[in-house]
Symmetry: D2
Subunit: 418 residues, 4 copies
């Protein structure tokens, strides 16, 4: 029998971490012996468990340890993290440690060092001179940089359920459409007011359905209220927004009457062409060509917008970042200090953003297609609140709630307890 | 070659009837010769076509003629309709004519007689004494009654597209969620105001999502405004409405906070039990037990409600009609003079109602699941306007529009031209 | 402070019962003190916890205890269960205990008595003469029968996760369509072979999509192989099956060519009429009118079928049970000894069946609409394996696997450990 | 009154072109007078109509004419097409003619010149020296090139319904999942065999669900049979295919057992890293690192694959084209001679491909999500056959049909009659 001791600390029972650890051991044909176990007697005391994990073969034991580590178990060892130089630009050593989106530490030089810029599906690069560890996407690693390999000397802090409830936990099976959604919007509005008051950042990720459904005007109003700091979107949202600003249509549908406009199928192309002729969105605003709409509001109210390209794009608008790796970098740069992400009516941009977010950032995903909401939740974005609902009405109600002065009281924005 | 002449009259070109007739002939291996063709030169003139249909075999020709008849073609013949006695109670003669939901006439005694109570998937019973023809469901025919057989001497009026547009035609592919839906609700509200002014009847078919999402209060308000004449629902809507009235929860979720109520999973059972103990919904209102909610509003404002049973039902409430054939009869009785049907968040009751409606009745189907909306449209309810959207917000906005005095102008309620 | 001690026994950690108990206490503003805690050191030892629950008000404590009881906590008390006579036929006392679908015991006469016929959303009736407790639906209780009220003296066995994995647990988020489904069908086929070998019962609940997609022939083959004991369906499945048997069409679509058959829209009506004229499905088979199809296979191979009515039904066929309460009773009667339920392409019949099943019965739900699969899982049928997939191909592959002699080895059918 | 005469020629009745023309005139407040009308008396004779269109204002008339032109009406005029130089690189003149995906001609120098490389949402550039007109995406036009403006002198050939049916027309409402899909796959297989026999090109556009569901082996077999000429996919399909080839997992799920593999969540990253270290997919095959899977089959069997980047991508693989405009150009280049496109389980790549296809190319779209299939159909890809179904089983059955020698007879591949 191969054995290894692991430790668990914190709210390991009510956060379901201990049971998941035991499940995992059994599921992968291991065995365990709980050598020490202290349960927190009150709701503020942490618990502690020391568990001996056993498996018949070394490979099996290593597999189990890998899984437990991702759950937050610390391998009881004095071993330091292992480092190997990257064999080339844009490639890690074969046995590199692949990150989760949870808070992570490496054991180096006898102490635990927190890893910066956490993001899932990256590697960890350690810079000896600065004594710094940071998360690095594969394409950005450079030959010779020291990369963490194997799973020894790495510790992950599991996301623990706060004992004090907050609204993000009030819907467990968050995907059902049959809930009183008005309440949730109230709470989201309350959180946005609080975040604004504290100078925290909010990102909105949006798809063209916002414009097609006529909800652009509500989004503009929210932007004008100063509740949004960043906008991530694609060519489509910006194009149809400009189409609506110039001709009152979206994909050729008149937003004031719901009817098809003659020749309207080409309006979005003419919108793109107009902006290309003007030299871009900002020049078009300066020249007085573009005078309203979501993009206009962004420029006038200093919302830092990013338009990321896709192979579906017509045109595209000059501001669109057509190289997807460059676009990812631009997204990463803006995510550093975001506290809340609203994802509205776009699967591509929502998943792309979710991939780059640490687990601690709250996200709200609204889509009329339950498959999109489910897919986001499946990706490990476990601070996600999913609403299967109509983007038009979500924005309308949110704009209404945000403009009302009857406060909902302060909404707590403290982070989950570690 | 077997041949038969058919006639087409009316707006047969812009209603796409002529092309569909020619398509059908070709699709089923027939051939045709257009012997006479007069096109309406202006938009008010009807057109006329006399077409000789040919097929290689008699069976093929008969098949084609059956299809053309359903499209509105009249077989040029002096033949009277064929009648045969029903061979037993609840069964038609083997070769009975199966109805569509379009206006239908039979040729008897040298004249065309309109069939009453049109409904799809029934037979036609002719009563010689009264000279009356009427649509009869299979289960209701009685041994010896005269039933139309074959397809000779039967004429169906195709539903023709009105040249004057009305809002029901403004969305062709009506199922997309990416449209400005606010506009449609304005139009629906305008139509409901007009219908109310003229004393026309409106039916609402609703599912429990109305209550789960907290939209019961909006529906109550619409009922109190006098805009609804009939409510079709199941045990679930009424039960959760009463649960909400008695304990403020729906399926145990507190509608004021969105949280799970301790012991709340049994609230709907206690609601049913309470009403069963009281002897029913009306007695419970009289005794002061039930004092608010959708069912309360129905009773107080004389909305004639029908609760139809299903095998999913708990309890059920005493008013639930547990025999489905009896429930169908109760539905039929109330549909006679309905001009508009709103179908909200229920597939079972919506399809059941759609099956009983003549083609001329306008229906609006709102569901967050596109599959439900598509399924209804597939069933041949072609006056249906489908909204893929959120029932909560639909009712909220509809209640708001209906209570606003700023009229949208009168909405035309004239029937399609025949 | 109001306090009450509760006990938890069994695999309370790896079954996540302890953490859920602690969560619940905290979520509803209570507090706890773990007075005794013994953890099973190996995977076969049970654990034990004695917990003092505290709340500021008596009502709050009672609410918490209700929730804990549903999770499997036993209130440490010598109190016997409370019984009150039913105040009338078809109604329980106001404070009746509402059942879950878990194994349940009542404390009476100093001993724990198991409740028979467990089913969710019922009451418990105790018959002193026979010393028997049984689950009774509301509509069936008779005035004066002794009904359990309150929550004292009631114990619920939580469903515990088996330490030995079986295939029903291998997909946690069971609703995704992006999994290798072929494997699951192999496993289901293996289980069905084993169940057949041991004489255990299998129920298939099916919708008309089975026939529309041309999969009726695969279902017939499975029935002929002796793998199905009961069939629950509605009028539609049987009608279209008979339509297909008589004319080769389903809803008028030719199953051999996929094309619309002239006059075929009336075929299902003619099918119903034919069977009504013959006096029913069995007489039609005896008279040689019906010679193939799913219903034919059921009759010939002694599958006990139940056709439950709905308000959508045309006709219906003579065998359809049109009263939904009678249909529920017929369903209950057949569910007593069922070990596996396959639910294919029907939401109405699947939910109705799920409502009547004890939690220990395995169910497999296959539907192309994720909403149906999710809805079933949401209803507390937690032994459910959901496949978002195509009913046609599921049945085809299942028929293939069942007819193959290359066994998959015996599949364990032992129940979860208690 | 402003008036203009238009001409319609061809199968204008059974292709529903005449009625759509008349509808459009009326819908946009115009009027018409049919001055000459000859109907084809038999199914091979073309028809002809000369119609005077009238409107109260010049702008209205122009709007109507724009719409009619898109439907295939020719404006009766001797006017030549209008040309203006592009005002800058990557921008058209403001009033540029925006293309449809139908066959298009311009009237220049007294004759009708066909436009090459038809694609929707582009402009038309005329090169006087070569006497050539071609479709040009906005981003590619160069300053000074002559671009068609306005709508005069442009003729569009409407897509006409073939009188001889072929399987692409056999499902009108092509999105329903309740059809006998086995038949369709037979027909698709037959068409693929015929196309292969004639040396015509087939493109497969695929998403990662092909790999996740374990269907990669069927796709490999189809590729090995020589039935696919091009593959369009993203980083995800190739990555998970390589993950499956190297470790037998897809997204960490073991494809042989359906279970989660320890540490498997990082397998796709290791797959990408392995290929990056090797220098790409082709080098990895040469070095013997990659020895099976879809990408392997593509390389070995000379399928020209294109991996287009998206902002969701991890890595990505070296072959991924990260600039979306470059990727579009690569797609366009390969589409020139494609006769059939299979779109399987990807919305992004399917819509991107659909945008670039002329209307005459047959497409088959298979997805388990009806929203994807509907969305593709909504985009004007009207030769699309949509199957709401399971990609795994579609490919499995298609591979089986393609390898069977029992031919289905030759499937006609002749183009629609003009």
């Amino acid at each position: 029998m191969y054995t290894q001791r692991i430790e668990l600390r914190g709210h390991i029972i009510d956060s379901h971490i201990l049971p998941r650890v035991l499940d995992t051991i059994i599921d992968y044909n291991g065995d365990f012996n709980i050598q020490k176990f202290t349960i927190g007697r009150t709701k503020t005391d942490p618990s502690f468990a020391l568990i001996e994990v056993r498996a018949a073969r070394e490979g099996e034991l290593n597999n189990i340890l890998k899984m437990l580590q991702a759950l937050g178990a610390t391998i009881v060892t004095d071993a330091a993290v292992l480092l190997e130089p990257a064999p080339g630009d844009g490639a890690f050593p074969p046995n590199f440690y692949a990150t989760t989106n949870l808070e992570t530490f490496i054991h180096h030089g006898g102490r635990w060092l927190e890893v910066d810029n956490m993001e899932m599906d990256c590697g960890i690069v350690f810079t000896p001179d600065e004594g710094q560890a940071r998360c690095v996407p594969m394409a950005q690693v450079q030959a010779g940089e020291l990369v963490v390999v194997g799973h020894e000397g790495v510790k992950v802090l599991p996301r623990q359920r706060a004992r004090r409830k907050e609204f993000f936990s009030f819907m467990d099976s968050a995907v059902s459409s049959e809930r009183p959604k008005g309440l949730m919007i109230e709470q989201i509005a309350g959180l946005m007011k609080t975040l604004k008051g504290k100078g925290k950042k909010v990102l909105l990720v949006g798809g063209p359905a916002i414009i097609h459904t006529g909800a652009g005007k509500y989004l503009s109003r929210i932007i004008e209220g100063g509740f949004i700091d960043y906008l991530f979107a694609g060519n489509a949202l910006a194009t149809h927004d400009i189409e609506a600003a110039l001709w009152g249509t979206s994909l050729g549908i008149d937003l004031a009457t719901g009817e098809v406009t003659p020749g309207g199928h080409a309006h979005h192309l003419r919108a793109i062409n107009t902006i290309r002729l003007a030299g871009g969105i900002r020049p078009a605003i300066k020249k007085g060509i573009l005078t309203r709409g979501v993009m206009y509001s962004c420029v006038v109210h200093d919302v830092d917008f990013l338009l990321a390209g896709s192979i579906r794009d017509d045109g595209p608008l000059p501001e669109v970042v057509t190289d997807v790796l460059v676009a990812q970098e631009e997204m990463r740069r803006r995510l550093q200090d975001v506290e809340l992400v609203l994802m509205l009516g776009t699967m591509l941009h929502s998943i792309a953003t979710g991939n780059l977010l640490p687990a601690t950032v709250r996200t709200v995903c609204v889509d009329i297609n339950p498959a999109v909401v489910t897919k986001l939740a499946d990706r490990g974005s476990f601070q996600a609140l999913g609403l299967v609902s109509d983007v038009e009405w979500f924005l309308r109600e949110l704009a209404h709630q945000l403009s009302s002065h009857a406060g909902v009281g302060e909404v707590t924005i403290e982070k989950e307890e570690a």
